[in-house]
Every structure is written in C-alpha cells, then in structure tokens.
Symmetry: C2
C-alpha cells in the first residue's frame, strides 16, 4: 500500500505569519511533514511518497515532483493507481501510526478522516481510479457526493488527532499538547509556549 | 453506569452572541443538551443525569440541581460515587452512541476524550472518588497530572466527534455538517447555513 503526502514548501503556512517569519514557517512545515512521513513509515503502509511542487533539501523523502495545483496533482495519481492508496495531508502533526493502521483496515470503498471546517484530512481509496478528489471548500461534503455519484460505499474515520490540521496560530496549542515528535520540539526551540488567559489556552512567543 | 451532563442555561453560549440573541442561544444550548442526553440514552449507559444550576422547563431530563460552579459541583458528585461514572459536556453535538460505548469500554482508571485547546470533553472514571476534576484552563493536562499524582492509569479516547465542543460561531460549521439530530435542524430553522469564501467554510444567517 502506498501513501501520498501532498506538500508545498514555498511560503508555507501563511496563516502563521503573525508568529513566525517566512523561513520559520517553511521550516515548521518541513517538521510537520517529517512527523507525518515518519508516522506513516511506522504504520503498515509500504511506501510513502511526498508529492511536492518543488525539490526539497532533505534526503529522507521519496519525492514525486508535481508542480500542478493540489486537485490536479492528486487526480493524476488517482487515475494511474491500480492499488489501494492513502492520501494524507502534510500538516497532520498529531496522527499516530495506529490512526493510519485503523484507517487502512476499513473495508468501505472510500474512507474519509474529516478535518474541521468540512475538510478532508486523510482519504483512503480501495480503487483510486474510480474516485476523483475535490479538495477546496467543504471537501468532506464534496467527497461524500462524489462517492455517492459513483456508487462507492463510504466510511468516516472519527479521530481528533487526524482531524487536527495545523493552519492557524490557535492550532499550535494542539501541537504543543499532543504532538510527540519533532514539530512540538521545533516550536519550543523557537520560544513558543502555551499561555493561559481567562480560562482560555493560547500560545505566546517569547 | 451513570452519566452526568453538567449544564448552565442562564445566558448560555455567550460566544455566539454575534449570530444569536440571548433567548436563541439558551434554546440552542437546550437543543444540544437534548442531543447529548438522547445519544447517552441510546448507549450502554444506564442512567443520565443533567447536573444543572437551575430547574429546566423540560420534563425529558432527570435533573440533579447544583448551583455550585462546575468543578465544585462535579467534585461533590465524584466524592460520593461508588460506581464508574461518565462526565460528558452538554455541547458535544456531534457525539454518537458508539463513541460513548467505546469510551466506557476502556479499561484504564481514567479515560479522557480531549477537546480542542486543551479541553476535557468526556471523562470516564472507574473509581470516581479517587479522582478530582479541574475543568478550567488546559484541563486535559491538569487531569493527566491529577491521575499521575494519584497513581491512576490513564487513557486518551481519540475522537473528532467527541473533541468538538460547540462554543464559537465557526464551530457551527461542524454542527451543520456532522450533527444528525436536533441541533442542526434548529440552526437551519433560524436561517443559519454554510457559506464559502476563498476556499474557506463558515456560517451565515439570513
């Protein structure tokens, strides 16, 4: 089984601009990518490919270069895939290898791990060429519709860890609390820590 | 097995003030409470008690009246409980009965379903009187520490549905997409629907 991790490093994680400069954001995005790839490598997945829009300065990754936008790049892979395929976003800093194993043990044709705000954070396809991805907007609803239109059975994989894609400053709280790998260490090394105000939890950078 | 659902109806859900007036917020809070209680009743839980700061105008609930703040009220119950106990927040509009059954089948002394931003959304205690709750701030971390201090084994129940407490306007997206009960119908009846802007999903009220 192959897992594909789409990745774009150039000006990555722009919504974190309030707390990190561009180079830091790009480095943090690489940390999260490494965490996701290492988690996948510890799971029952056989092969992990990073589908990147540019070459990366890191020998640890097997790169599938594709300069196309996300949907076009993923759909090109789906069309050509003859075996089950997992697509996992590169900012799922909280996922554990058992999340991946649970996800790929599901029997439905299409299995979605929803992200917040209607997102699709992991997508497992038994027959990728029968599916088409549509990642913008409420992709969770779009993917359900596409599966129904094509007569494919659908499962939802319910996981807090898999639902937490890291985009905004408040999401860094989840990294500091629940990430057990490189991403949380990187944040701490930059002086980012939890802060508490009026019973709420946020992050602050010293 | 008993489940306790702490609830405060007076000026409920104040962070939704931008989209609902006070009466609507209190009614929405009651909708979510009913969804949570009905979900618990469909699970393997034997008894569901709503621990409320005031009497409620609804005969469907078994009320445990307690005007104390959350921690004091919960800790009073914990001290007196001689059987396993589940504490579930009243705004977990997404939980399914199988979430509850999975949670209460766990063997660790203390099982936490984390909420976002360090919250504790469900808490399952095999021996409640050995534990003490501390619900403010990063309660997930505090509850881990309390379990460790008391020599209790700890489990984390990983669920997107259980992690989604509904507090802010953006959380209504989750209700409209994933709630299958009364809360989503209530929002729709008020003219609240999903809206899409720059690939982002939010809510709008007509």
């Amino acid at each position: 089984m192959t897992a594909i991790v789409p990745f774009k490093n150039n000006d990555a994680k722009s919504r974190l601009s309030g707390i990190m400069n561009r180079r830091e954001r790009e480095e943090f995005a690489l940390c999260m990518l490494r965490d996701v790839v290492n988690t996948l490598k510890e799971s029952k997945v056989d092969e992990v490919l990073v589908m990147s829009t540019s070459l990366l300065d890191d020998d640890d990754f097997d790169i599938l270069l594709n300069p196309e936008p996300l949907n076009e790049a993923v759909n090109e892979v789906l069309r050509k895939s003859e075996r089950p395929l997992l697509i996992a976003m590169s900012d799922l800093a909280l996922i554990r290898s058992w999340n991946v194993d649970e996800m790929i043990s599901r029997k439905e044709d299409v299995v979605i791990a929803p992200g917040r705000r209607g997102g699709t954070n992991m997508l497992f396809l038994h027959e990728p060429s029968r599916f088409r991805s549509d990642y913008y907007g409420a992709s969770f609803l779009d993917h359900i519709r596409i599966a129904e239109d094509r007569g494919l059975t659908l499962g939802v994989y319910d996981s807090f860890f898999a639902s937490s894609d890291i985009d905004q400053e408040e999401d860094l709280v989840e990294v500091l609390i629940h990430n057990e790998r490189e991403s949380a260490s990187f944040l701490r090394s930059m002086g980012v820590s939890l802060c508490f105000e009026n019973g709420d939890v946020g992050v602050i950078r010293r």
